[in-house]
Structures are given as structure tokens and as C-alpha cells.
């Protein structure tokens, strides 16, 4: 690193320490840019891939009200994907490049979306737990050091908190319903609880990118801190619903002022991250079909038409 670069880096870190946002045209270390592109594009891909498990239930939603609510929610996720791709583009990558990385299996997205939505209650559980877990991370990110990312998150958080309430409301209807409906809700909690805890990522000791991200204030809370916050908030919500969190070790720790919870099966986590979950192959297949097989000719047509139109407009003026 040259003396000039060292000086830039010191100024950069000083800005971060003073809580001044880094903007697109500001100098930033390559590694900061790279970390952000990786994180924001992963986040954008999670929104887009996340449409698939929830979209799976729109045609089968049990009432018109629920159908419209779910469709509006999944549409919001598409919007979140767009804000985030735009935020990543400010760092010098294009949406096309990010889409290619996703379709080629090079880019990651949140592993939670590799689990299947088997029953209608899964739509409730995904809203309640998965969006609930995502919000804790996203609220933190509204204060992230990179300006465009932080601003995108402010808007996303408003919608996500609505989604979480909608998910809880679906669970509430099920839990106040017939025995069969309540059993459906319990079954969904049983299947989504542990994967939701895994959403916060590996424990702090194992987390590869965390330390530097904390110094750069991309991240402000550790994975384990956020996970604990989620457990503490969710236990009481499960009590209101009258369903049981599938963890025999879950208990209130008076001394710590937090819930203790059982060990997470990290083998399962890494298996799914590596592509061996139930739906990894389906998700990629669906994305490739949408973007490449059924989509490329559509985008090509739009470009060809725009070029023809431009030519015609030029000819008219001439």
C-alpha cells in the first residue's frame, strides 16, 4: 500500500468512526467495496429467490383476502430486490453480472429459501419467523456505513415489519381455528424454528467476515447477539399463539436476562449452504428458467424494439 493509499484509508476509517456515511463516489478500500457487493447482491438475490417458496402458495391461498395479502407481499420482495440491486450497482457492478452469478450458482442467497413451503401454515411461519429474523438484521443495516445500502434498508424495513405482522396474523388465525389448523401451525413452527435461528449465520467464533465488517460498521451487531435478540422476542410470541418451540433446552436464564437455547445443528446449515438442501436445485432451476430459458428472448425483444424505435425517431427528425 502506498503512503497516499494509507492516508486515504485513514481518512476513510475516520469518517466511519465519526458516523459519516460513505457514498458511491467516495474513495473506499477495494476490500470494503468487494464485501459490500457480495453482501448487497446476496441480499438482493435472497429477495428474488425468496419469492419462490412464498409464491408457491398464491394460487392455493385459502381465501381471497389471504391471496391478495400474500401476492402483495411477494411483490414487495421483488421491489426490495430492485432497491438492493440498484444499491449494489452504485459500487460498479451491473444487475446482469449479478444475475449471471446467481444463475451460475456462484452467488449465494439466504439458505432459508432452500426449505420447502409444504402447507399454508408455512406461509404464516415464514412471515412470522423468517421475516422476523430478517428484520433484526435489516434494522441494524439501516445504520450501515454505506449510504445507498442504509437508505434502501430504511424503506425495506417498513414493509418487512408489515410482512412479519401479516405472518403472525396468519399463525393467529390458525391457532384460533380448528384442531387441524392448530396442528398445521405447530408443524410449521417445528420445521421453521431451527432454520430461522441459522439465518443469523455461523456463531461469532466461526464467522469469516464478521470482524472486519464490524470495524467498517457495515455490521453493528454480531450474529450471536442478533440471534439471542430473536429468540428473546419470539418465545413470548409463541406463547401468545399457544404453540411450542421445538427446543427442550429452551429456558429463561434469570442471571443473564435472556433465554438459553439448545445447540444448533451446524452440519445441516453447511449442507444447505453447500447446495444439498431439499430445494436448492429447484430454486436455481426456477431462476434459470425465468431469466434464461423463458426470459432472455423477452429482454432481447425489448432491446431490439427500443433500438428500432430510436432509429425511427432519428430518421423522423432528419
Amino acid at each position: 500500500m502506498t503512503a497516499k493509499e494509507k492516508n486515504f484509508e485513514a481518512l476513510f476509517q475516520a469518517k466511519i468512526d465519526q458516523e459519516i456515511k460513505i457514498e458511491a463516489k467516495d474513495w473506499m478500500p477495494d476490500a470494503y467495496r468487494k464485501t459490500l457487493v457480495r453482501q448487497i447482491s446476496q441480499h438482493a438475490h435472497s429477495e428474488i429467490v425468496g419469492m419462490l417458496p412464498e409464491g408457491n402458495w398464491i394460487t392455493r391461498a385459502p381465501s381471497l383476502r389471504r391471496k391478495i395479502g400474500l401476492l402483495a407481499k411477494v411483490q414487495d420482495e421483488a421491489g426490495h430486490g430492485l432497491y438492493l440491486y440498484s444499491a449494489a450497482e452504485t459500487l460498479g457492478t451491473t444487475r446482469g453480472q449479478m444475475m449471471d452469478a446467481l444463475n451460475e450458482g456462484k452467488a449465494k442467497y439466504s439458505s432459508i429459501f432452500n426449505y420447502p413451503t409444504i402447507t399454508w401454515a408455512d406461509i404464516g411461519a415464514v412471515g412470522w419467523l423468517v421475516d422476523g429474523a430478517a428484520i433484526l438484521n435489516q434494522v441494524m443495516l439501516t445504520r450501515t456505513s454505506y449510504g445507498p445500502y442504509a437508505r434502501a434498508m430504511v424503506r425495506i424495513c417498513k414493509e418487512e415489519s408489515f410482512h412479519q405482522r401479516q405472518g403472525f396474523d396468519i399463525m393467529m388465525s390458525l391457532c384460533n381455528g380448528t384442531a387441524e389448523q392448530k396442528a398445521m401451525a405447530q408443524d410449521a413452527l417445528n420445521r421453521w424454528w431451527w432454520p430461522s435461528l441459522m439465518m443469523f449465520g455461523p456463531s461469532d467464533a466461526e464467522s469469516q467476515h464478521s470482524e472486519q465488517s464490524m470495524i467498517w460498521k457495515i455490521k453493528r451487531k454480531s450474529n450471536d447477539t442478533l440471534r439471542q435478540q430473536f429468540v428473546d422476542a419470539t418465545v413470548d410470541q409463541a406463547k401468545i399463539l399457544g404453540i411450542t418451540i421445538p427446543d427442550p433446552d429452551l429456558s429463561w436464564n434469570e442471571e443473564k436476562g435472556h433465554y438459553d437455547f439448545g445447540a444448533i445443528d451446524w452440519d445441516e446449515f453447511w449442507q444447505v449452504v453447500k447446495g444439498n438442501g431439499i430445494c436448492n436445485r429447484d430454486r436455481l432451476k426456477a431462476r434459470r428458467a425465468a431469466y434464461i430459458t423463458n426470459g432472455k428472448w423477452v429482454r432481447d425483444a425489448a432491446i431490439a424494439y427500443a433500438e428500432k424505435k430510436q432509429q425511427r425517431d432519428i430518421s423522423k427528425v432528419a
Binding site: 411477494v74 381455528g177 426456477a286 431469466y291 425483444a301
Partner: protein, 250 residues
């Protein structure tokens, strides 16, 4: 105004929105680009919202609930036209189906807002005209892009148009319910608008470089409850939860 005629006529309008909306929801998350996904979902939301408004009105006339009407009738009791139940074969078929319906709906809603004897249906039409104007803008713009885009998109779009055109006439030919509703005053006679519809179509197809020849035959029956093979599969999904878990609140 006869209540039973108004009820059956309302279902015919509602079922078109419901079934076309259902077809569009199948695409959610599977479109060529995120912007298209957003637009298709928006149109589906409008259509499902329209159907809900109409089913609520129908429920007030019949004493049942919107979901019972929307999700628990037998197939022969659904009275949508055959066009809207056709599959999402590819994006060109989605667009041509949408363009044909939206263009028809522009004329239908205007007529309904001006001359239906039902306050509720006139109010529905006035609200929906604004939504439909956006839908037309979307489907017409994509008709142009696909028709006059690449050779591949042109060929696919022409094939979709040729496939779907036998379903057009049903939109305008009065069903038994239409005939009763026109006589009652609650309904509008769309057969008067055929020429106007075809004038718009031919101008747009010419601009989109698509060729148009009048279809050699027409198919119909949906508005009288006689559907294509697709309908049963649509209802299998649409009605699944209501049938599997009867008498439940969701």
C-alpha cells in the same frame, strides 16, 4: 332490477377477473425481469381486487360469503370466458391474452359505467376504468416490443395471436345471462362494439407488425359454464384449501 339476474351477471364479470388474475399469479417470481414481475403482480392484484369487490356484491345479493362464491362453486357454475383460462404458454401468450382482454375490457367498462341500471356495477366500472387504463398501457406496449422486436419474439407472438384469436368472439356474443341482463337493464350489449374493437386491434397489430386474418372458426361456452380442460386444474388449486378444510376461518 332482478336480483337473480344481477347476481349471475356480476359473477360473469367477477369470474373473468378471478381466473385471469389466477393465471397471472402463476407467474409471480418467474418473469423475465424483476420489473415485469412487479407489473404482472400489480395487474393480478388489481384483477383479484376487482373480483373481490364483485363477489362481495354478489354475496350481498345471495346471502353467502365472497369466498364461498369464489372458491366453492362447481366448475359448471363458473361463467368466465374461455380466453382468460388459457395457459401461460410463454410470455407472448400472456401478453396477447392480456392485450385482447384489456382492449375488450376498455369498451366493456365504459359501456357498463354509462348504462348499467345497477349503482354498484356503475361504481365498479368507474373505479376499474382507471386500473384498466394502466393494464392496456402495459399489454399494448409489450405487444409492440414482442411483435416488432426480434424475429424470434415476432414469430412467437404471431403464433400466440393465431392460437388465441378463436376465443375473441365469445367476449362479444351474448350468453344466456347477458341476454337476460341486457333485457333487465343491468347488463350491456357488447355485440354493438365488435367493429370498434376490431378497428383498434387492426391498427395495433399493424404497428406491432403482426398479421391478422379473421379466424376460420370460433370457440365459446365458458360464459355458459362449459369450459376447456384447463379449468379443472385451475380450480384444483384455487379451491384446494376450501375443499380440504371446509368450514374453517383463515
Amino acid at each position: 332490477m332482478s336480483k337473480s339476474i344481477a347476481y349471475r351477471y356480476t359473477l360473469q364479470i367477477a369470474d373473468n377477473s378471478l381466473i385471469l388474475g389466477h393465471r397471472l399469479t402463476e407467474l409471480c417470481g418467474h418473469c423475465a425481469d424483476t420489473e415485469i414481475d412487479l407489473a404482472i403482480s400489480n395487474i393480478a392484484l388489481d384483477l383479484l381486487g376487482q373480483s373481490r369487490m364483485l363477489f362481495q356484491y354478489a354475496a350481498s345479493l345471495s346471502g353467502s360469503t365472497e369466498d364461498e362464491i369464489a372458491m366453492l362453486r362447481s366448475e359448471g357454475e363458473y361463467v368466465n370466458c374461455l380466453l382468460v383460462e388459457q395457459q401461460n404458454e410463454d410470455f407472448s401468450q400472456v401478453i396477447v391474452r392480456q392485450y385482447l382482454f384489456d382492449t375488450y375490457y376498455t369498451l366493456f367498462l365504459k359501456a357498463l359505467s354509462q348504462s348499467s341500471s345497477s349503482d354498484e356495477l356503475r361504481a365498479f366500472a368507474n373505479k376499474t376504468i382507471k386500473e384498466n387504463a394502466y393494464h392496456v398501457r402495459f399489454s399494448r406496449a409489450w405487444l409492440m416490443r414482442l411483435g416488432d422486436g426480434t424475429q424470434e419474439s415476432h414469430d412467437k407472438t404471431q403464433a400466440s395471436l393465431d392460437f388465441l384469436k378463436p376465443y375473441i368472439q365469445e367476449l362479444f356474443i351474448p350468453s344466456q345471462v347477458d341476454t337476460a341482463a341486457i333485457a333487465d337493464g343491468v347488463g350491456v350489449d357488447m355485440s354493438k362494439y365488435v367493429d370498434q374493437f376490431h378497428t383498434t386491434l387492426q391498427a395495433d397489430f399493424a404497428e406491432a407488425t403482426l398479421s391478422w386474418e379473421a379466424p376460420k372458426y370460433h370457440v365459446s361456452g365458458g360464459k355458459d359454464g362449459r369450459h376447456s380442460e384447463h379449468m379443472g386444474f385451475i380450480l384444483s388449486e384455487l379451491q384446494y384449501m376450501q375443499r380440504a378444510y371446509p368450514n374453517s376461518e383463515w
